[in-house]
């Protein structure tokens, strides 16, 4: 028990209180979040949170709800009456969800997702964990379309229970009139930790203009102080000294009771991004070999100690204290924490630096980081399944392989396999399009218009994927259904030729093939035509305008292919 914090219970919910003058703040935490879902149910926790708050839509009260990786938080500030009304309302809704709002709230969630920008670190989790557990925070809420009234009610009844909750209120006593009855259930252990990174330190290719590093380390005072020291070292090197970056910082966030994630980010102009990668690597290397400034440690320590000087310390600590109870992270007393901070040495930070370096996942713009000792994260599947072969219509060196245990997609230099037993989700469109994502994060699209396959082949896939992984999708805009690729002049293919107005967008694998074949064919035409232009028996002098035109068109066709090849990587 920490100083000034009173522990009690309300309707079977573990509750912590600490007095603070002025308006009261309160929070009701549940041990359920996005990492507890599957990709096929992804979004269901957020949906319950929205439904629980629906009744408060019109009030002026300062309140909010947030769905994080491992917890959901209902949060409010106001007078005693308002707190009581809000918390009672949330619990009443959780007991009896306003399911008539289900479709409306799903629509709101989809709108919210569309407006939410993805930060530069949004895809780090999927590369580290795959399309499951903690990796799900990288994904869209793909399971919303599958979440029906039964599924949502079941989720609320089993996860939003009194045993799986902690309440905190910045007040010395409980406000009158609380009615927080919730179904009884059990505390939910933290989700299992999965891995999609066979070797670390690893790197992935990122977009221009930003370098991101994350690492999972044991939770400790040393690790949180190390993160501050890392941020300071990056800022000093990349911004103050080099002038390459505007932002250079590091963050420490607990992941579960035992581990935390350190995430460091540095931005740059594209012209300077190579220097930012190099500087980033060097800053980390300096910390790894133990070149850590005592002054940096002292400054970071002082900043943490300052937090103990604020008034009403116990109340300020309540949310993180409550979260500690919820995740069963051993709670440290102030004295213990202060003593640990004071005792912290450069050697302690050095140990964390080695942990970070060994475990790091680095996202570098454009290029590679193997030169710095980082290994490339897997960019294709380890295996191809043996099954019936369904050639890509435009080029039979690419094909789908449909096997009893899953589907593979093979093309020269590329292979992706999703096993049915390891299928995180299959998005199923009424037109026959299927998008499968494996638990390891690899995905492939089955577009019947693009492969030599028929309805029976598609039915085999549909039968193979476990029903709990299937998300039925609404009809697609006809413009977004890929048309068949242009045919090579081969017998037996004409019957499938169906001209479609719009090719797939440049950059998609389908269009890569479309443009690739066109570029190849046009290249032959251009080559022959050019050689004729230079043949003095045919023409007195080459028509330069014509030759330039031929090759400009070729360049235009090659461009999307090259772009697509460069971009080819796992996609969330």
């Amino acid at each position: 028990m920490a100083e000034g914090i009173i522990e009690t219970e309300v309707d079977g919910i573990r509750t912590v209180l600490a007095h603070r003058p002025g308006p009261v703040t309160a929070g009701l935490l549940f041990r359920v979040g996005r990492a507890d879902e599957t990709l096929a149910t992804s979004g269901i926790t957020h949906l319950v949170e929205h439904l629980a708050l629906h009744g408060h839509g019109m009030s002026d009260l300062h309140y909010n709800g947030a769905t994080a990786g491992t917890h959901t938080h209902f949060h409010v500030q106001g007078g005693d009456d308002e707190i009581v009304e809000y918390l009672n309302g949330v619990c009443a809704s959780l007991r009896d969800l306003p399911l008539h709002r289900l479709e409306t709230e799903k629509e709101i969630l989809r709108t919210e997702a569309a407006g939410r920008g993805a930060g530069p670190q949004h895809d780090m989790a999927l590369w580290r964990y795959g399309a499951q557990g903690h990796g799900l925070t990288s994904y869209q809420e793909l399971g919303l379309r599958r979440a029906d009234a039964t599924a949502v009610s079941d989720w609320a009844r089993t996860r939003f229970t009194r045993e799986n909750a902690v309440l905190w209120i910045t007040s010395g006593t409980l406000p009158e009139g609380l009615d927080l009855r919730l179904p009884s259930g059990s505390w939910q252990p933290l989700p299992p930790v999965t891995s999609a990174l066979p070797r670390t330190p690893a790197y992935i290719k990122g977009d221009d203009g930003v370098v991101v590093l994350d690492a999972v380390v044991r939770r400790s005072t040393a690790a949180s102080v190390f993160s501050a020291v890392l941020g300071k070292a990056l800022f000093r090197d990349l911004r103050q000294k080099g002038g390459y970056s505007y932002t250079a910082e590091s963050d420490y966030t607990p992941r579960d009771a035992e581990f935390a994630t350190i995430t460091a980010v540095a931005d740059s102009l594209p012209a300077k991004q190579d220097a930012v990668v190099g500087g980033f690597v060097d800053v980390l290397a300096a910390l790894r070999v133990g070149r850590i400034e005592q002054a940096d440690l002292d400054a970071a320590r002082t900043a943490v100690l300052k937090q103990y000087e604020i008034p009403d310390l116990a109340a300020a600590k309540l949310p993180s204290y409550a979260l500690g109870l919820l995740t069963r992270h051993p709670v440290q007393s102030d004295e213990e924490h202060i003593a640990e901070l004071r005792a912290l040495t450069v050697a302690d930070l050095h140990a964390v630096a080695r942990e970070v370096s060994a475990n790091a996942l680095l996202k570098v713009p454009g290029g590679e980081a193997d030169w710095a000792g980082y290994v490339a994260a897997p960019s294709d599947s380890a295996e191809l399944l043996t099954g019936s072969r369904h050639a890509y219509l435009a080029d039979d060196t690419a094909a789908l392989l449909i096997a009893p245990e899953g589907v593979s997609l093979t093309s020269p230099g590329n292979r992706v396999t999703v096993r049915y037993a390891e299928c995180a989700v299959m998005l199923a469109y009424p037109d026959g399009g299927r998008h499968l994502i494996g638990n390891d994060g690899f995905s492939l699209s089955v577009e019947p218009t693009l492969y030599r396959m028929d309805a029976a082949d598609l039915a085999r896939i549909d039968a193979g994927v476990p029903p709990h992984a299937v998300v039925p999708m609404p009809p697609r805009d006809p413009q977004r259904i890929p048309g068949p690729p242009p045919e090579r002049d081969r017998e037996g293919r004409k019957d499938r030729a169906r001209v479609h107005a719009t090719p797939a967008s440049p950059g998609s694998p389908a269009s890569m093939w479309v443009f690739g074949v066109l570029a190849f064919l046009w290249g032959l035409v251009a080559l022959v035509a050019t050689s004729e232009e230079f043949d003095s028996t045919l023409y007195a002098a080459p028509d330069w305008a014509f030759v330039v035109f031929l090759w400009l068109l070729e360049a235009g066709l090659l461009f999307p292919v090259v772009t697509a090849l460069r971009r080819r990587r796992r996609v969330a």
Partner: protein, 315 residues
């Protein structure tokens, strides 16, 4: 400097130019790390160490001594840094100096693999000893070979220049990166060479970078325009002014780099048909010649003899 008769055949052997280097070679062959280490410790400045490092890197088999020494002296940056230079040299000999289009994929694979080994050692040395010039100097080369980008090569040079602002060897390496053949521009390369020359204290080697960049440009131009470029009055005047502040300055003290520095002025002025102006450099050189720049002129020995003869006849 030279005491040999000026018109004898040129000698391209660095051990003949600098007899003291024989100690280094003997020690490397005998796997006598103590003497190697003492040799580097006794050198007056970082540029001298960079030259001596290249001498060790050129000795076949020196990696065995350096690997042993690195293991035996884990806290000492010198053996790892020399080893990295040796790895770079092994890698580059596989790549060859041919244009990228003439180098096979397998050659590039091995080249990059040796450079990554070197870079791993250098990252560690620079992390431990951020002011250690020799390691940063080699990292300018690894950045170029591993194609880590112009801004990264520049960052490495800047980290070196922070502590050693007039490091001629590193400046010459960065100058390569700034040339169009490695993705740079003439504007950047010439600007850098001029700035290095102007900022250096009088009597430094740095002025020779002005001659080097004009040699690079000459090599890049087609026959005809190349001669026109070198014979231009502006180029001549710039070369003469740079030489006066550098190898011809009264305070110039010839170290290991002097054969290269004089050689660049001698070659650049000769190619512009400023033979009389080239003469002082040939007189200083006598029969000593470095592979650079003379290999740029085709048959290095014939080119040296021909231009020396003309220069000494006119000046």
């Amino acid at each position: 400097m030279s005491s040999t008769p000026p018109l004898s055949r040129p000698v391209f052997d660095p051990f003949a130019h600098h007899p003291s280097l024989a100690t280094l070679r003997t020690a490397c062959h005998a796997r006598d790390w103590g003497t190697v280490s003492d040799f580097f410790a006794a050198l007056g400045d970082e540029d001298e160490r960079a030259y001596a490092s290249s001498v060790v890197a050129d000795l076949p088999g020196s990696e065995h001594l350096l690997e042993q020494a690195s293991a035996a002296h884990p806290g000492d940056p010198l053996p790892r840094t020399l080893l990295a230079d040796r790895y770079i040299r092994i890698g580059w000999s596989i790549r060859s100096n041919a244009r990228a289009s003439k180098v096979s994929e397998a050659q590039f694979g091995q080249f990059h693999s040796w450079l990554r080994r070197a870079e791993g050692l250098l990252i560690e040395v620079c992390a431990e000893h951020p002011a250690y010039a020799l390691a940063w100097c080699h990292r300018v080369t690894t950045a170029r070979g591993l194609q880590l980008g112009a801004s990264e090569a520049r960052r490495r040079y800047d980290r070196l220049a922070e502590h050693h602002p007039h490091h001629y060897a590193a400046q010459a390496k960065l100058l390569q990166q700034l040339c169009p053949k490695w993705g740079g521009s003439w504007e950047a390369a010439e600007g850098f060479a001029r700035a290095c020359a102007a900022d250096a204290p009088p009597g430094g080697n740095n002025g020779a970078l002005v001659a080097e960049v004009h040699m690079e440009r000459w090599l890049d131009l087609d026959e005809g325009p190349d001669a026109a470029h070198m014979s231009a009055h502006a180029v001549r005047d710039e070369l003469l002014a740079a030489a006066r502040r550098s190898v011809l300055h009264p305070e110039y003290r010839p170290g290991f780099h002097w054969v290269t520095a004089h050689g660049h002025f001698a070659a650049a002025l000769s190619l512009g048909r400023h033979h009389a102006e080239a003469a002082p450099h040939f007189r200083a050189l006598g029969n000593m010649a470095g592979t650079f720049p003379w290999t740029y002129l085709g048959d290095q020995e014939a080119a040296f003899i021909k231009h020396r003869k003309t220069a000494l006849a006119k000046g």
